[in-house]
């Protein structure tokens, strides 16, 4: 399971990146995710990830999370009440696919690999994708509990990832 092994290495490396030294691309090894250049819309999400916090855009007026982030609330259509809300970082695996033909060049040598759809405990309507580091290819426990971890990408920006913590509820 080469992808699972490489992913595990990449997650372990986060500790080094976070506490010891600035990230260098040459440290990244193979199979890392593309780097991320935060933009105005998503900067708080990425900055929080670098601090190992998971935040999701929330409309305070509607008391409703939304992800991916947008300029306005999909329910009330206004943008004035949008804020960033920290969530628990716990979730559940909805289902998954195994990618054998990936369009992203940096990930192609790791094919096949899992991509699971995670539903947040804070609001199951909110999804995030995950490579599920450490989970063998095509052996994803649908319905299992997961928790967030933070993984370095090719330019050092961290990204929320997920790992299985308990089997199906």
């Amino acid at each position: 399971m080469p992808f699972a092994r490489k992913r595990a290495v990449a997650v372990d490396r986060i500790i080094v990146v976070a506490f010891n030294a600035p990230f260098r691309l040459e440290d990244s090894g193979e199979g890392m995710k593309q780097g991320v250049d935060p933009d105005d819309l998503t900067r708080p999400f990425w900055e929080a990830a670098n601090e190992h916090r998971l935040v999701i855009q929330n409309c305070a007026a509607c008391d409703r999370l939304q992800h991916p982030p947008a300029r306005s609330c999909h329910q009330c259509r206004f943008g004035d009440s949008l804020e960033w809300k920290e969530v628990s970082g716990r979730g559940r695996i909805y289902n998954y696919g195994v990618v054998h033909d990936c369009p992203i060049r940096l990930l192609q040598e790791d094919q096949p690999f899992n991509v699971a759809v995670i539903m947040l405990d804070d609001d199951p309507g909110i999804q995030m994708y995950s490579h599920l580091s450490g989970t063998p290819v095509d052996a994803v426990p649908v319905g299992a509990d997961v928790e967030v971890v933070f993984e370095a990408t090719a330019n050092g920006q961290k990204v929320p990832e997920w790992r299985v913590v308990a089997q199906e509820r």
Partner: protein, 440 residues
């Protein structure tokens, strides 16, 4: 002034609108298809502009219409299958200069404006209305039907064209880079191919209803068999290869549980229809096929990809809109031609419709019965994208041809072709049309 997209208000996207106010008053009377190609060969005549001119002229000829009598043009200006002209690559001036140009030199090569069409079809002397139905032919036909019903045009050409260039699509640009913008990264970092969302929905469908991927084999086999009877289609023209259940089982995965045959093949092709009023249609060459309704789903999924629950809610809602505006029920459908350009979501469409009484979770069992064109329950008689290549319009052409009784070897024989429905693309978010042999 440049042609603009049709406003959102043109589309019938809400429930409770009642019968379509122009029900049976608009008709399709002509069809024109270009030849198909896997990729552009660099010649002017096979450019997306060149094949579009061919399709448009064939549609007028098929209907027996005088070009000077055409007063409307509705089309989709986007033509890409995912291929864009590479940065820095010299422009194809020989093809560009073979036609009258607009300000954009790649107009007619990797995109298509109404202005380019009109500049290169001097015979269209009466055009007073142009607009874009952006997305697919399914958008354009809804816009054109409404425009004719509203009296904005009385005889309208409707066009959708596709270009495809060398190289694997979606492999260049940002996907080949070391970093991507944060907004894109939220969704794209995980390297999912286009079929991923459908693959996950299908996995959940199989888990929920106890089905399996191999149960799709009869649908795939049927689609390719029907597609090989569609002389306008890519597979019939270039690679007349059937797909057996063994082929299907052995196909490589793209995003498991979606394999190669669950995905369509990007091609170059153009199709045009001629729509007119029911009154004028009576005087043209082909039997009119009346439009009973058009309907649209504009539902936005809550998050990254629609869940199965979201899909089922929306396909059921779409069906209610389709039936309400047309004044029909599922029992009135002679056959269905819903979209299949991922094969794994066709069952979502037809379960939502309640085609032949199907309920959610039943379509894969239905596929194990006779779904062929000679039986009582035809499924996708066009062959769709799986049987003919990626165009998203075989389903519409087939509905028109079946009802006109000129679908040739593909003609349904187990049912009388009176009312049919087609449309897509996605089960959550699409545009649909109800076609009928009679206006009432």
């Amino acid at each position: 002034m440049s042609t603009l997209p049709a406003p959102a208000s043109v589309y019938r996207a809400k429930e409770g609108l009642g019968l379509w106010e122009h029900r049976g008053k608009v008709a399709a009377v002509g069809i024109g298809h270009s030849p198909t190609f896997r990729r552009w060969d660099g010649t002017p005549e096979n450019s997306v502009g060149g094949i579009s001119l061919e399709a448009l002229r064939r549609a007028m000829d098929d209907a027996g219409a005088n070009p000077a009598d055409i007063d409307g043009l509705v089309m989709d200006p986007s033509t890409t299958t995912g291929a864009f002209w590479p940065k820095g690559k010299p422009l194809p001036w020989e093809a560009i200069n073979a036609y009258r140009r607009t300000d954009d030199p790649l107009d007619g090569i990797t995109g298509l404006s109404a202005e380019w069409i009109l500049a290169n079809m001097p015979e269209l002397t009466g055009i007073g209305f142009t607009t874009y139905g952006v997305g697919c032919m399914s958008n354009a036909i809804c816009v054109a039907a409404q425009a004719i019903g509203d009296g904005r045009a009385h005889t309208c050409l409707v066009l959708k064209s596709w270009h495809n260039l060398e190289g694997r699509y979606y492999q260049g640009g940002a996907n080949a880079g070391e970093a991507i913008p944060g907004s894109s990264a939220i969704r794209s970092l995980w390297g999912t191919p286009a079929c991923f969302g459908t693959a996950v929905q299908f996995a959940e469908y199989c888990r929920k209803y106890g089905k399996s991927h191999d149960m799709m084999a009869p649908f795939i086999e049927n689609s390719r068999r029907n597609g090989l009877k569609f002389p306008e289609g890519y597979w019939a023209q270039h690679r007349p290869e059937e797909i057996t259940p063994e082929d299907y089982a052995a196909a490589r995965w793209i995003a498991k549980p979606a394999n190669l045959f669950d995905n369509d093949l990007p091609i170059m092709v153009s199709a045009a229809y001629l729509f007119t009023t029911a009154e004028r249609a009576r005087h043209l060459k082909q039997k009119p096929v009346y439009i009973l309704n058009h309907a649209t789903s504009r539902t936005r999924p809550r998050s990254l990809t629609p869940t199965l629950d979201e899909v089922e809610e929306d396909t059921a809602r779409t069906a209610r809109k389709i039936y309400e505006g047309a004044g029909i029920t599922a029992d009135d459908l002679s056959f269905e031609n819903m979209y299949d350009g991922f094969a794994l979501f066709h069952q979502f469409h037809i379960e939502g419709l309640g085609y032949r009484g199907l309920k959610f979770g039943e379509a894969l069992d239905f596929y194990q019965t006779d779904i062929g064109i000679s039986g009582p329950n035809p499924v996708s008689p066009s062959g769709g994208n799986i049987g003919c290549g990626r165009s998203r319009f075989w389903m519409h052409t087939d509905c028109i041809q079946q009802i006109q009784q000129r679908a040739g070897a593909r003609q349904v024989t187990g049912v009388k072709p009176e009312i049919a429905v087609s449309g897509g693309p996605m089960p959550v978010g699409g545009n649909y049309m109800v076609w009928s042999a009679t206006p009432d």
